[in-house]
């Protein structure tokens, strides 16, 4: 084996530029550009474009809406997290979405103790979108923050997420998401790194070019006029992506607040992770290419170049990237036989370098994350990201294409799923 490795090494180093390109076309097309953009913008601007966070009380009344199903155990901690904020919310509205545990009793208790302002409990589960819409219908704030029950929030999260609203063109602000249970398992640790790079670094650079396409449902702030203008959430399965795209279509700009940090627990087993990512990918595909298909259609009135960029980007790097991988590997094996392994390894080495650089950059622009502890896991992460995650994505697309898996998505109540047209 070592001899073939040595052979491979020699082979590679003897290539010309054109030769290298033809060898590494996959990586050149589907990996490097992905890094490149974030690299450049982040390195260039760093954190200098962040607005000062001194307008927290000037934005008007701030309502927090939390909707949950069977979250009796988690809700108190979530509410306390908001009460601990340096800029506390003016109103907390909690919706129990058809809970069958004692979440309603818990909410009554919290209300009696004066910790929350409004309590709405329904007997029938409606799904997260409808539950959030219910909360929003009765909330009275100028800025509406939609948050998840099982998340906790860093003390200054509200202060920082409100900062971008000083710009009247901003319709929504995306909060930063970090992983709370990173030490639970290797899979969780890899996701911690992934979130740091793809959300923290990725969205910061995207924000510079106004390419933030998804305000996470776990933590996002919306100008009420913007939210009402696009009629709130639509039926779920990617409702956060959908809402953001609707806002973008309506002309609102979307900001990202890297210092506004929300902590969440991620799936700690590969199986759970796979299911989650299957759902995310399916939702993304459906929302982008069915519900908002008009963004790809040059003849539609909604068509904008700016939107086309991220639509295409998603298509190329996510979908094509996943589809092409097996093709590339097969071609490599067929063309180069024994050398294929070496080539792949060398590819991976290159990517590792890029990942490492991205990681350092991400750590630099997210001072509050405990990045150093994640460093030793970079090697594993690199492999994990390049191969495992791509395969997961591929499987997700195939499952959706051939088996229409979205129709059986448990995340949404069936009565709602049945009437969803995309």
């Amino acid at each position: 084996m070592w001899s073939s490795l040595a052979d491979g090494f020699n082979y590679l180093t003897s290539q010309s530029l054109a030769g290298l390109i033809s060898l590494f076309w996959f990586t050149i097309l589907f990996d490097i550009p992905r890094y490149g953009l974030s690299f450049v913008t982040a390195a260039f601007f760093g954190r200098s474009n962040l607005p000062p966070a001194d307008n927290a009380y000037d934005v008007g009344k701030v309502s927090v809406i939390v909707a949950g199903h069977n979250e009796a155990d988690a809700i108190e901690r979530c509410v306390q997290s908001f009460l601990e904020q340096s800029r506390p919310p003016d109103e907390i509205v909690v919706v129990s979405d058809g809970s069958t545990d004692n979440m309603p009793e818990k909410l009554k208790e919290l209300r009696r103790d004066g910790l929350i302002d409004q309590v709405h409990c329904t007997h029938l589960r409606a799904g997260k979108s409808a539950a959030c819409n219910l909360g929003e219908r009765w909330s009275t704030g100028d800025i509406v923050i939609i948050a998840d029950c099982d998340c906790t929030y860093e003390r200054h999260a509200l202060k920082f997420i409100l900062a971008p609203f000083r710009d009247p063109a901003i319709g929504a602000v995306c909060g930063n998401i970090l992983v709370r249970n990173a030490t639970k398992s290797l899979v969780a640790t890899f996701q911690a790194i992934e979130y740091l790079i793809s959300i923290s670094l990725g969205k910061q650079s995207a924000a510079i070019t106004d390419q933030v396409t998804c305000v996470s449902g776990a933590f996002g702030a919306f100008r009420r006029t913007a939210l009402r203008g696009v009629s709130g959430n639509d039926v779920g399965g990617g409702e956060d992506l959908d809402l953001t795209l609707k806002l973008r279509k309506a002309g609102w700009r979307i900001a990202f607040a890297p210092d506004s940090i929300c902590f969440t627990d991620v799936p700690d087993t590969l199986g759970a992770l796979t299911r989650q990512r299957f759902r995310w990918e399916r939702d993304a595909v459906r929302v982008r290419y069915r519900k908002h298909a008009d963004l790809m259609n040059p003849f539609s009135s909604k068509f904008k170049l700016k939107e086309l960029i991220h639509e295409v980007e998603f298509f190329v790097f996510h979908i094509l990237g996943a589809l092409m991988l097996p093709i590339y590997i097969t071609w490599l094996c067929l063309t180069y036989g024994d050398l294929a392994l070496m080539i792949l390894l060398s590819v991976q080495m290159g990517l590792l370098l890029l990942d490492l650089l991205s990681f350092i950059l991400a750590a630099w622009v997210t001072p509050k994350a405990n990045a150093l502890s994640l460093l030793p896991f970079m090697l594993g992460y690199s492999f994990f990201n390049s191969f495992v995650m791509r395969i997961v994505r591929l499987a997700a697309y195939l499952q959706e294409w051939f088996f229409n898996a979205s129709a059986g998505d448990e995340y949404l109540p069936e009565k709602v799923r049945l009437v969803r047209w995309w």
Binding site: L107, V119, H120, T122, H123, A130, A131, K415
Partner: protein
């Protein structure tokens, strides 16, 4: 002048001249408001004369009849307003007269029939009297009672002169009370006592004078009005008959509905109280302690302290005793701890912590402003566009139209559903699906919610065996031994002798022994053979003892126990021969009294 004229007319009938003369000197000031025509049917001439004199003085017209026949004749010939009839008349008795007259009368202008009789029992025993007599005056009568009856305004007979009294019409409580007072001895409220003091009669009753049968309430009273029952001795052991129906739960009999022929119930009540009172130990009869009084009351009234729902009371319930709730609660707690009473759960009431009342207005209220002005609406969820709001958001006339996507909703559970309801406050616009339950105290206006409102548990209480023993045996039982002696209980002459012996003992070491004779089977004997048998047997025992002991020894009869003081006899010696003594004194008895002799020496009195 008119009076004199009438006098002249009646004077043609049977009347003595002396009466005439006296009648004509009647002073106008003494006259009644309305002159009545009266027929007096009475066989005693003295009574005849008296009644005629008095009534004519008042301006009434009086005719006399000496027997039943004459009375009937008089009734047929003239019309009268009032007929005073003696029950026992020669030829035809008063009852016959009245009933015959009623049968034959046209029903127009019937006079009022008043029975005057010494035989109240006989009168009460007759079923028919109610139909025939409007009033009863017992003999010997008070003239003022007669006048009162004759001259009282009788609206009923004026309004409906034809109709004889129907049995269904309840006798007025005042009349009945008057009647009952002939049969029983009542302590009356408010005549004989008020909240603070007793009349002379009241005092008499509080000395456990056995002549008093019950307390009668003649005017509406509250529990507080009757508090003197608990602050004096023994009155709490009398049954309470409420003639006004104002304290029905707390009293023992509703007298407002009792009719003349229903006195059986009263008989039973009074009798049972008497019997049970006799069984009460004098400790409890004369006690000042409210707890012991309450025990006594429970015992004489049947052993149960029963709560009942009572909307008139602040606590929404009342016990069957005329004592305020707070006192009962306090004493019961004590008695429970002592093991004298048991408790059975009755109900749980909400209670205002501030004033103790259970009067609440309970309703849902806004969690923000506490207003009860809430409007309920359904949540409505439109599946297709994920809009979830209140039903009024969707209502447009008859139709339901989604405010977000403008689609008309037509198919429940397919297009939309209603997952719950929201309460909208009309005062402050706050909305929630979970309103508070607000309690507002009607007496002091304090406000509570479902979690903070106080609660009070109410129990029924029954006398337990140890409680029963206590009420029958007195405080002696508290020491745990039946044989315990209490110095204060000893008869006075015995105490004097004991003191002398004790001095002798201290000075000269002269021994003595006190024997305490108790009769264990007293209750059984009294019950099976009668009180008389017990008393006789006991006296026999005492006589035997006197015959047995020496001259210098003393045999003393006590209240419940008897004593023998053996002068100069050491305790040990006495103890040894106790059995022999007992056998000797009880040998001649017909019944087994369960004689027990306890021995006490000088040391027991130190």
């Amino acid at each position: 002048m008119a009076v004199a004229k009438r006098m002249c007319k009646t004077s043609s009938k049977r009347s003595t001249s002396t009466v005439d003369k006296t009648a004509s000197t009647a002073s106008a000031a003494n006259c009644a408001d309305v002159a009545q025509r009266i027929l007096v049917a009475e066989d005693s001439p003295v009574t005849q004369d008296l009644l005629k004199l008095v009534l004519e003085q008042r301006g009434h017209t009086v005719d006399l009849a000496a027997d039943g026949e004459q009375a009937l004749e008089a009734l047929e010939n003239a019309s009268y307003d009032v007929v005073l009839l003696d029950f026992h008349l020669p030829k035809i008795d008063g009852l016959e007269v009245a009933s015959r007259f009623r049968q034959s009368s046209t029903g127009q202008n019937n006079p009022r029939f008043v029975a005057i009789t010494a035989d109240i029992k006989g009168l009460l025993g007759h079923d028919a009297n109610c139909e025939n007599f409007d009033e009863v005056i017992p003999k010997p009568f008070e003239l003022k009672d007669v006048l009162k009856v004759v001259e009282q305004k009788h609206d009923m007979s004026e309004a409906n002169p034809s109709a004889p009294l129907q049995p269904e019409v309840a006798a007025s409580p005042v009349r009945t009370a008057g009647l009952l007072e002939q049969k029983y001895e009542f302590l009356r409220w408010p005549e004989d006592f008020n909240a603070n003091r007793l009349s002379a009669r009241g005092m008499q009753a509080s000395l456990a004078d056995g002549t008093f049968d019950a307390i009668m309430l003649n005017e509406p009273a509250s529990v507080r009005d009757l508090s003197v029952i608990w602050t004096t001795k023994t009155l709490h052991l009398l049954p309470i008959i409420d003639m006004t129906g104002s304290l029905l739960i707390q009293t023992d009999l509703d007298g407002s509905k009792i009719r003349i022929e229903e006195t059986d119930e009263i008989d039973r009540l009074v009798q049972s109280f008497h019997e049970r009172r006799a069984q009460l130990h004098r400790d409890l009869v004369y006690t000042d302690d409210i707890g012991e009084k309450l025990l006594g009351r429970m015992f004489v009234s049947g052993g149960l302290l029963q709560p009942r729902y009572d909307p008139a009371s602040k606590e929404h319930m009342s016990y069957n005793t005329v004592l305020d709730f707070r006192s009962i609660e306090k004493e019961m707690k004590d008695l429970l701890a002592k093991g004298f009473v048991g408790q059975t759960f009755f109900d749980r009431f909400h209670m205002c912590d501030r004033c103790g009342s259970s009067h609440f207005n309970i309703r849902e209220e806004c969690t923000e402003c506490n207003s009860a002005n809430l409007h309920e609406e359904a949540y409505l969820h439109h599946f297709k566009c994920a809009y979830q709001g209140s039903e009024s958001d969707f209502r447009q006339g008859d139709d339901l139209v989604c405010p977000k996507c403008r689609m008309e909703l037509s198919h429940f559970s397919v297009d939309y559903d209603k997952p719950g309801s929201v309460m909208q406050c009309k005062s402050c616009n706050h909305a929630t699906s979970e309103p508070d339950v607000g309690f507002v105290c009607m007496d002091c206006e304090a406000r509570y919610d479902g979690n903070s409102v106080g609660q009070r548990d109410v129990h029924a209480h029954e006398l337990l065996e140890s409680g029963l023993n206590f009420v029958k045996a007195g405080r002696a039982i508290l020491d745990g031994q039946n044989a315990a002696l209490r110095f204060a209980e000893l008869p006075l002459e015995l105490i004097v002798s004991l003191n002398a012996e004790l001095k002798n003992f201290e000075a000269k070491q002269k021994p003595f022994t006190l024997l305490n004779i108790t009769y264990q089977n007293r209750r059984e004997i009294e019950h099976s053979e009668g009180l008389r048998m017990f008393t006789q047997s006991r006296d026999l025992v005492l006589q035997n003892l006197r015959d047995t002991v020496r001259k210098e020894d003393r045999v003393v009869k006590g209240h419940n126990y008897d004593f023998v003081l053996l002068v100069g006899t050491p305790t040990g010696e006495a103890r040894a021969s106790i059995d022999d003594l007992r056998n000797e004194v009880t040998a001649s008895l017909r019944v087994d009294l369960g004689v027990q002799i306890d021995v006490f020496g000088p040391k027991d009195f130190s």
